[in-house]
Each structure stands twice: as C-alpha cells, then as structure tokens.
C-alpha cells in the first residue's frame, strides 16, 4: 500500500470515524463476523475482500482498504446478505455509501469497471430522463473496449429480433 503523509492519515482517520458515526456505516458495529453475508453473496468468489471482511475493515478503522476494494463494486444488490444477516446489517447500503466515498476521493481504478457503467448510466438519465441500454453499452465500451467483443454476438442477435 502507498505510504501516507501525516496529513493524509489524519484525514483518513476523520473520514473513517465519520463513516462509523452515521448510518448505514454505524451498523457495522453490530457485526458478529459470522460470515453469512459472504456465504450468501453470488460474487464473493470474485472479490478481493469478502463482505464480512469489508465490515471488519470498517469497524477496525481501515476505511481506505475498504474503499480501494474491488468488492464494493462487485456487489450486485441482490439483498441476500441483508435478508439473511442475523444482526440486520444493511450491507448493500454500506456498499453504496463506500462507492460514493470512493468516487468522491477518485479511488476507483480502471479494473473496477462498474464505476464507469454507473456514471454513464447516471449521465444518460440526467440528460435524457430514461436509459437506452444499447446506447449505455456502447458508452461503457468506449472506456472498456476489451469487454465488447464478448457481447457482439448477442448484440447482433438482439438487433435482428428488434430488441435494440
């Protein structure tokens, strides 16, 4: 990990404290580390830090590592963890909050992918009011051209069926 300046470390401590002082971050204090969230998560296997570990990082004041995680962008919002958590922790809301903070501090890196998709989505809605999925996919493709060939066959089929 990058070596932090003193000022930066102070800033991070403040940020970390602010995160656990307020809902939904505050609910991380309820976590008993049982791992039900990680066991329920459909994409946990692809994550660097599992949902359980993200909660531990927040609680232990290691917010920066949580914010830099690929995991926070892999959450699909399926709500399985939220429904099963014995402590009722709103894990998806915590993930949303971490995403917003990570974006505010320009932390996501290229490999995270979802920030570009979400930002393209929001820009399109702010401009047009609605989302056009094909236009969104093309927009996303500008920043991640390597992801496109895998979808070309599907795009052609959808086009042929008048679904684009």
């Amino acid at each position: 990990m990058r070596k932090l300046q003193v000022m930066e470390q102070e800033y991070l401590n403040t940020l970390s404290q602010a995160f656990i002082d307020k809902s939904p971050g505050a609910e991380s204090a309820l976590c008993i580390q049982c791992g039900t969230c990680s066991g329920s998560c459909p994409l946990a296997a692809q994550m660097d830090n599992s949902p359980r570990k993200i909660l531990a990082l927040i609680r232990d004041g290691c917010l920066e590592e949580a914010l830099r995680s690929k995991s926070i962008w892999l959450c699909v919002s399926c709500n399985a963890c939220l429904t099963r958590c014995p402590r009722g922790i709103p894990v998806p809301d915590i993930m949303y909050r971490l995403r917003v903070l990570a974006l505010q501090h320009q932390m996501p890196v290229k490999e995270h992918k979802m920030p570009d998709l979400y930002q393209a989505f929001v820009r399109q809605v702010e401009k047009r009011g609605r989302v056009n999925e094909a236009r969104l996919a093309v927009r996303y493709g500008f920043s991640h051209p390597r992801d496109l060939p895998g979808h070309l066959g599907l795009a052609m089929k959808l086009l042929k069926k008048g679904r684009i």
Binding site: A80, Y96, M114, R130, V131, D147
Partner: protein, 280 residues
Amino acid sequence: MPMEICFYPGCSFETSAGYSQSLNALCAHLNIRLNSVPDWNCCGSTAFFSVQELSAYPAARVLAFAAKSGAASLVTGCNGCYNTLRKVKKLLQENEQVCSDIQTRLEQEGLKPAPPDLGIRHLLEFFAQDVPGEAWIRDTGAPKLRVAAYSGCLLSRPWTDVDDPENPVMLDRFMQALGFTPVDHRLKASCCGAAHALPYREETEALVERIVRTMQDKGADLAATICPLCQLNLESAQLGLGLPGLPVLFFTQLAGLSLGLPHSGLGLDKLLISPEKLWS
C-alpha cells in the same frame, strides 16, 4: 367497466422480448386499461445510489406523478424498478432531511411528494391477486408445459411481505392457476448477475449456468420470469454456454398461451431461444 392500473413501464420494458406485446394482448383480452405514469423517467436503479449519496429524486418524481394521477397504487413489471421505488418510498418516510430536499425539488416542477399510503406493486402481484381467478379460463388447446418459476432477487428481498425471500411461491402458484405444471427447484430467487453481466460476462454466466442446469435437471420445459433484466440474462448467457437451450418466457406470455390468445400477439418471435418446439 375496464379495470384500470397506473403502470410504470421502466426503461427496459419496450425492448424486452415480448413483454409489452404480451401484456397488451393480455390486457385487451381481460379488459384492463394500462395508464402509464405521465412523463415517467428512469427510477434511478442501483446506479444512482452508487454514484450520489441518498439519490432519491428520480424515483420520488415517478411516485409524485403516479400520486398526482389519482392512483391508489402504482404497478411495475420490473424487479429493479419495484425495488428502487419501494426503497425510496421507505427512505422518504424515514429521513426528514432527504424528504424536505426532495419536496423542494418537486415543488419546482409543480409536484407534491407522494403520500405514504401510495401502494407499489409488482405486475405479478396484480395478475395473481387482483385479477379474479375466474378470468383464467384455460384454452383446451393450450400447451401442457412444465415451468420453472424464476422470481429473481428483488420481488421478495428485502421485502419479505410479498413473497418468501428464499423460496418464493407466488409465481409457481400463478403458473398452476394457469394450468401449467410448476417444477420445484431451489434457485427461484438466486441472482442472475443483473447489470454486472455487461462488464463481468464470464462471472455472471456461471451464475446463470447453475440456475439453468438446475431447472433442466428438474425436468423443466422452460423458465418463467417477471423481470426484463432476469429474462435477458437467463436467455443470453445460455448462448455462450452451449447448454441445450431452455426457453425463458415472461409470465405474461405464458398467461396468454394459457388463455389461448393468438401466438403472433405474444411477442414469442422476439425470444432468442424459441419455445415453438414445445408445442409443434
């Protein structure tokens, strides 16, 4: 007198595989009038929550327009929209700060926030619960099909009031009422990968593979879905997997088949995996 519903189509409705065609055919047959929310916009989906803190405005605007039209409840056919609208309604009830900010923005448009008693319902709830059971008269020529119901995540999660979050049954029971044979399986509310299917194709294909294989192992002829994104993911991921294609239909298309409506009006030709072989 036709039954009327205040309908929120959502952005994916028109381009979905026969969802709009089959819903229109069904409503014409059952004398139901769909009144779309005037000047509707995108609900904001998970994208807005991920980019802006407590970004409730898009969904609050939809709810405000629905309330303004005088409807007691709003009906949507998309799990994503359903979840976002309910989530924002709850947020507005619980967070005074967000509520007052939203109120100011809505007033600039001459709108008022929706009252807390405005209902938000899924299209499946409407057909399975509000349309009288006598309406479903099965056509003698309707195909006999074994249907694997797939409700997806957000109809019952985290809203455990509508259906069971682990093993939803509303869609199975509706299929049974239509005269089809529901196939019991454990992945009715297992995630399809949602929007992550675009950047994470291989990872989400693995999720769909597990779901489709389970349905096939249980002897299903086809899958029934209630959400445009679930339908697209379940159907499209199969193309890359080399599975013996399991057709994935909207529940409205199956309702049309049961009632004996002309196949040409159900948008079946829009499906990437044709179900025709099941009855020809």
